[in-house]
């Protein structure tokens, strides 16, 4: 990818909703505002989502009747955040199914 192309690509992502997965297993969903060469990210209007803890999983599994259990991730509102690049394990961009190129 050359410089201009990369810049265009990053700019095209601005103000899109990103989902950032961090090393500690949390996910952050917010609007992409800024990035730099170290992949530090600034997200606006961010919500944090957390996987259920082991105990909660255990409790749910004990109560569940079937083989699989489904638990909602717990979330809270954080607002404007910076995610340092070193902690990012996965990034996703949200796209409308209807608008995706097939």
């Amino acid at each position: 990818m050359d410089k201009d192309e990369a810049h265009d690509y990053l700019s095209s992502l601005l103000n899109q909703n990103l989902r950032i997965h961090t090393t500690d297993g949390r996910m952050f969903r917010g609007t992409f505002k800024c990035t730099d060469p170290d992949m530090n990210l600034v997200l606006g209007n961010t919500h944090e989502y957390r996987q259920p803890s082991k105990e909660e999983l255990g409790a749910a599994a004990a109560n569940a009747s079937g083989d699989s259990v489904s638990l909602d991730m717990t979330s809270r509102y954080l607002g404007l955040i910076v995610v340092p690049g070193q902690y990012i394990v996965k990034m996703e961009v949200e796209q409308f199914l209807s608008q995706m190129k097939s």
Binding site: L10, P37, E48, E55
Partner: protein, 759 residues
Amino acid sequence: MADFGVGVPDEIARLSLGQGSAPPETLPPNIKSDGIVAVDITAKFSEAVKTLEPGAIVKDGFFTLFDSVAALEIMDPKMDSGCSRPGAEVEETYDVSRSLLPEEVLGIIDQLLCHEMSWHLGYPLSQTLFTSFYVEALSMPEPRSIEEATFVRNGNHNPNEQLMLQALRAYCLGMLKSCGYVNERIKSEHFYEEEDFVTTTYNRTLLASLPTSAIRDVLIEAIAALRSQRGSMPDNLVEALLARLELRRIFLDAVECPKNMKEPNLAKKPWREGLELLPDLSKTHSLAVRVNEAFSATLQRRLASTMPPRPIVQLEFDVAFGHLKGLFADGLELIDVLNYTDSQSLLTFVTCFQAKKPQPIVYVRTLLQTFLFDAMEVLGSMSIRQLLDDDFSILTMPAHQYLDRANDEIEVVHDPRYAMAQQMELFRTRAAQPFLDILRTACQNRCRVRRTLCHLLRDWESLQMDAEEIDQILQVKIEERPTMYRSAMSGSGVESYSLPLSSWTYLYKLRQMEQIIQLGFELEIYQTDELAGMYWYLNYISKSRLHHTERIKSFLMKRVEETHGRPGYSNPTIDAQLQRSLMYARLSLLDAAVTWELSDSLSCLYTVLNRLKLVKAPPRPYSTDELRYEIRMRPFAPIGLPVLPTFEEFTAGTLQPDTEIDELFEYAERAVEGAKRGFEALSKMTAEESFSVGSHARWSSSVKNGLKSCIATKLAISAVQKVIQTSPSLDNLKIKVDVPTPQKAYHEWWIVPKVLPVA
């Protein structure tokens, strides 16, 4: 809030900005929508950012780097409350439905009590009560009815199934509700956020939507259920639990006491009951078993806050209990303020109550403000005019025609009484705010008292100008005849008018100036080598007050003579008012005199100690005496009268270079002897004579401490004198001087040095 200057009108101050009970909640978006697909871009993105030059950024045009400063940094353990320590489970969990032993319930309740008191002392809820899983279960999600306010919400769970959980639930509900009351009370008055108290509730309502009666019912039900179990549990445990539930019930009554403002005895009842109950609480604390798992700092992550997680505040039970006891004792004493006798006694009450060490906690102080000012009525029943007129009549205008209510009825414009009514009303509107601010200021924490007084002083300075103008208008209207003084210099007569309004104002102004200096001693603002100068200045101000009070007294005497000289005169009400004013003048004279003489003596003593290098100045490479003088006197610089001494006068007064040490000691001894006699006379005064009805015990203990300070000063003087006489040279005296902190001195305002021999 509440960092408004005290001068802000109540209506504005009560607009609690940004503290609405329910800020709009941002709902988390659903991340499992069918129409939206998350596309993995990790590889492409990381490749793209690698092409960026060092220092280059890609950013949204509306996003400024300034904004990014406010951003929360993820994975920074100091900022990110969700960040988990490596290896540790992120969220600690606890089963709130588990069955508990009575000892454990006691333990949890006592831990909650410690947290509640920590909150009262100024820690945020997030580090105290909100670290409890039980509190969390009761407050999230917000219960809409009392039935919903249970530890376990799902299904048809009976909250009263287990007696121990029923008792704990009742306790928690009562506690949260009363915390809600306390928070609202504090928010509605002047206080300093973060400095005194943290009112934020992190989007929790503290059960605001549940009626108090319903919570009281839950408590009563739990108490009854416990009583019925007396046989099946050890008695001491049942009694211990009962005492704690009873405390919650009483606490709810206590925080509702402002509604009984018109019936002080009824308002006192819960405070007195609480105080009687408290010993049972501390006695049974030894039965309690702590349940540390029921509290977790990680609960802070669920709060609407971006504050970094902080450790749980751990307050010892004994300390917390001491504060709780203080709260009830102060609350009980506070109600006495409602028994109004006269404005000066009220002022004495408020000043003495607030000067207590330790100072009453924030809640008690705000409660006092509520009593004083709620709904623009003083003590729930008096108008501000009544209070002001009472004060005018005590200080300078006993039975004065200006204060005659009949003046208001006059409609004839050229009648002097019409002018009196008009002008007095004008003066009252101007004086009301500064006067009430004196009371309001006294309710703040000690540092703020001094700071606010410095601001208030300017208001009084401008009020004095208004007063002088109104005095002049009125003395022309009523054709007041001046008193003639024979001036010693020229031999001709000098005219002097009574000027009642400006005299009143000036007296208050002088008292505030004294108080600012005295609080400086109390708050350890001055360094030891500055004490000589500050006592010299205090002496200067109190001398002005003494002279001013003498002037007021001479006009009072004149009024007494005039009134008694009138043919056929007999009116007990007028007589009583005149006597009361004379009594006040006597008190003010004595008070000014002891302040004058003791400060004179201490100033001389410190001058000698400075000269003998027994009190040394710390090195001050960047400061000069003159600059420091300017800073110290900044609050007083804008004051026209008494005029601020020049730096040269101040230096001369402080160093007294032309006076020998012997002479200085002679002055000091004579002055302290006078002060001692003055304090003795003060201590013999009754509550009525000293205008301390309702707070006489506190007032006289302060006087006694003043007397002790006199004796200590005498001892210090003679100790230094003796050493000087016996030692061959002044350079090598075998003593050292210890300047105590205000807490260690007999009186916070009189810092008397201790003279100790050197081995």
